[in-house]
């Protein structure tokens, strides 16, 4: 799945929810455009970029504020990406994505987002409204 495809599927979720303001969706689109280049959007999504996009969605569309990093502050690779670190921590804290590796000690930001994981993520986003 490319990053653009992930964005499209997130927009599909919001379009099926009439209670989500149009302004919020518009802001999400603007944030995507300002955050990711066309080149990045067309590439297969890697986990850290997926986290960034999901974090933008949570902030702009579902209106969820950031939370304390809690246990995820001690993930081995949380500080590898200054731009992604908070986004990664937030999607983990909110249960949207899961850590990886033995003992769940890493996030694995450079790993590709698999179709299976993407489906699980989108289902978790969908059910946040329920």
């Amino acid at each position: 799945m490319t990053l653009q495809e992930l964005a499209d599927r997130l927009l599909d979720i919001s379009s099926a929810r009439p209670e989500i303001p149009e302004d919020a969706v518009k802001r999400f689109r603007e944030e995507i455009r300002g955050t990711f280049s066309n080149v990045e959007l067309c590439k297969p999504a890697i986990r850290k970029n997926a986290a960034r996009m999901l974090h933008l969605y949570l902030l702009t569309v579902t209106g969820e504020p950031d939370e304390d990093w809690g246990e995820y502050a001690s993930l081995k690779d949380i500080y590898d990406c200054r731009i992604c670190a908070n986004a990664i921590a937030q999607v983990l804290v909110k249960g949207i994505m899961k850590p990886q590796g033995t003992g769940k000690k890493i996030f694995g930001g450079d790993e590709l987002l698999t179709e299976e994981e993407a489906s699980q993520i989108l289902e978790r986003i969908r059910t946040r409204y329920d």
Partner: protein, 590 residues
């Protein structure tokens, strides 16, 4: 992970940019270095990538309205997130939604308010937030752009840097910045000299089981794990006698890798003259040793020193910052601007950045939870990594020897005052620490949230603390006491925050500032004292000795007259500081 289309290889290093010339005091390209630490506001901690032209203009207005300009806050700096994500006809371009008027118009507006305008870029191929507009390979046209936009301050980051394993760069780039594993050398037809019998300098290299030397390079200073003090690079040195002046050949038995502090790039100097500085052919694995092709060397009669080393981590980075500076100075020869290196301390910039830059970051970021419009962001007092006030302070506080007017300033990152997560007391101490350490004072909060006279304003507008930071002597405070360092409190790297520090800073006119800092999150009681004789040992003529002193508490503004030369504090609440400006009084003044 960023991979360039054509993997670039670092070029030749000019002699003036090489490791052996780092300590030369003359700044390069006639850059003006006679300035005190910069003061202003940077958009990153306040708004992250979400900064806009509108927010910037509002911030500039607030700087005036809050009286901050009159206190010295003058630079308004756009950090990451202001450019289009791709170049337009090879040139940098404004994000037209966020910055519709363009950068020149914004600069003109900032200048019309009597403020100065700053921008951000990166020595790599991309900015940290991903935009493909880094200056690498574009220094000439980017210097034109910054000149056209009349930029007074340039912060330059280090992400996607192709000549080291920087953030988002190819991790295999470390092949450029570490030497191969070395098993032995051979000079001419003489016997091999085992590497383990050579002299290893610095903390990075060591002899491995198997008898070879690994880790010849420069320690990565991004994280809080290493002290900045002392030699931070390792070399392997052989001393050899020659019976006559002679031209001969050197052979190096080596094995390469692209990880674990083993690389492919070797530098060889004979009697401090570089004779080899290039990649060596790759080997199958890091213990599959082969003999190099011959390296032509010249030995002189008597003792000769052969250095096997790799200083490319520092040299490559200095070269990149210098290249951009060279073009900037060429485009606008008379332009005075602040050049702020943001390579996070990775390459131990305090060793080299003074040649080109006005300040250098010493660690990775102070927070990874920056704010946005409506969200103040989050800061911490302590952290296991770099993301806290004390992480940055712990390192910067022992780096006073590297800073000064004409050299530049250690930069423990932007202020987090105003972020969630820090108490009023912690914010007060954060400001006092940065002022005493001659750190650049770059505000990072949404100034629309600040009212004149409120608690935050009182901290950032503390005239006396700012005066300490901007004192014309330009001497960073020295830590003269640390409850966890019995010897050399000024040089011992202490990360345990359960302690009290005392900092001393000479000020113009033989005055001095003392700061008693409780770094811990528990109240501390004790007899924390300083005497003037000790200060005179450290600072000599800069400290005035008298029978009486005027003592100003910079927080309470209480002024007292103090007899004798011992100054004490008996109790400090958690994370608190008591900072004083002390003026020696003559008999007449008393």
């Amino acid at each position: 992970m960023m991979k360039t289309k054509k993997d670039p290889v670092p070029g030749k290093i000019q002699k003036e940019l090489s490791f052996d010339h780092f300590q030369e005091e003359t700044p390069l390209y006639r850059k003006n270095k006679d300035r005190l630490p910069a003061m202003g506001w940077n958009s990153w901690n306040a708004f992250g990538s979400g900064n806009t032209e509108k927010l910037t203009k509002e911030t500039a207005e607030r700087i005036l309205a809050l009286g901050l300009k009159d206190l010295g806050y003058q630079y308004v700096v756009l950090d990451d997130g202001c450019y289009k994500t791709e170049r337009v006809n090879g040139r940098l371009s404004n994000d037209e939604v966020k910055f519709p008027s363009g950068f020149r118009a914004l600069a003109d507006h900032i200048h019309s308010l009597g403020l100065k305008f700053g921008m951000y870029n990166d020595v790599g191929t991309n900015l940290c937030a991903g935009a493909a507009v880094g200056t690498c390979g574009h220094e000439k046209e980017d210097a034109k752009s910054y000149t056209e936009w009349d930029v007074d301050f340039l912060k330059v980051d280090n992400c996607y840097y192709p000549y080291d394993n920087a953030t988002f760069s190819n991790p295999e780039n470390q092949r450029f910045v570490y030497a191969p594993n070395i098993m032995s050398i051979r000079i001419g037809k003489a016997k091999k000299l085992p590497a383990k019998d050579g002299k290893i300098t610095g903390p990075s290299a060591r002899v491995k089981k198997g008898g070879y030397v690994t880790g010849i390079g420069t320690l990565d200073g991004t994280g809080p794990g290493h002290s900045p003090i002392g030699i931070r690079s390792s070399e392997l040195i052989f001393e050899t006698e020659s019976s006559k002046d002679q031209d001969t050949q050197l052979f190096v038995e080596y094995a390469t890798d692209r990880r674990d502090r083993t690389g492919e790039w070797l530098q060889v100097a004979v009697n401090d003259r570089i004779v080899f500085d290039d990649l060596l052919p790759r080997t199958e694995d890091p213990t599959d040793f082969i003999m190099s092709e011959p390296i032509a060397i010249r030995l002189t009669k008597g003792r000769n020193r052969i250095r096997l080393m790799n200083h490319r981590r520092q040299e490559n980075t200095l070269s990149s910052y210098a290249t951009l500076l060279r073009y900037l100075m060429k485009e606008a020869p008379g332009k005075d601007f602040v050049y702020s290196a943001c390579e996070w301390g990775k390459t131990q910039p305090h060793n080299w950045a003074g040649r080109v830059c006005d300040s250098w970051r010493i660690l990775n970021d102070i927070t990874f939870r920056v704010g946005s419009d409506g969200d103040p962001g989050h800061g911490d007092w302590t952290s296991d990594y770099t993301c806290s006030v004390t992480s940055q302070y712990n390192k910067a506080v022992i780096m006073d020897a590297f800073s000064g007017i004409g050299k530049g300033w250690n930069d423990p990152d932007m202020l987090m005052i105003g972020m969630d997560g820090l108490s009023l007391t912690q914010n007060e101490t954060h400001m006092a620490m940065w002022c005493m350490m001659n750190a650049p004072l770059m505000l990072g909060l949404d100034l629309r949230r600040v009212k004149k006279g409120d608690a935050l304003h009182k901290i950032i507008a503390n005239r006396d603390l700012i005066m300490i930071n901007q004192d014309p002597l330009g001497i960073q405070a020295k830590r003269i006491f640390c409850s966890l360092a019995k010897t050399r409190p000024d040089r011992t790297y202490v990360r345990d925050v359960d302690r009290v520090d005392i900092l001393a800073k000479p000020l113009a006119g033989q005055k001095f500032a003392l700061s008693f800092i409780n770094v811990s999150e528990k109240k501390k009681r004790g007899n924390y004292s300083v005497d003037v004789d000790t200060l005179k040992k450290h600072f000599g003529k800069f400290i005035g000795k008298a029978d009486r002193y005027k003592v100003l508490n910079v927080r309470t503004k209480e002024e007292t007259i103090h007899d004798g030369g011992i100054f004490s504090v008996k109790e400090l609440p958690a994370c608190a500081n008591e900072t004083f400006i002390i003026t020696p009084l003559s008999g007449k003044e008393a």
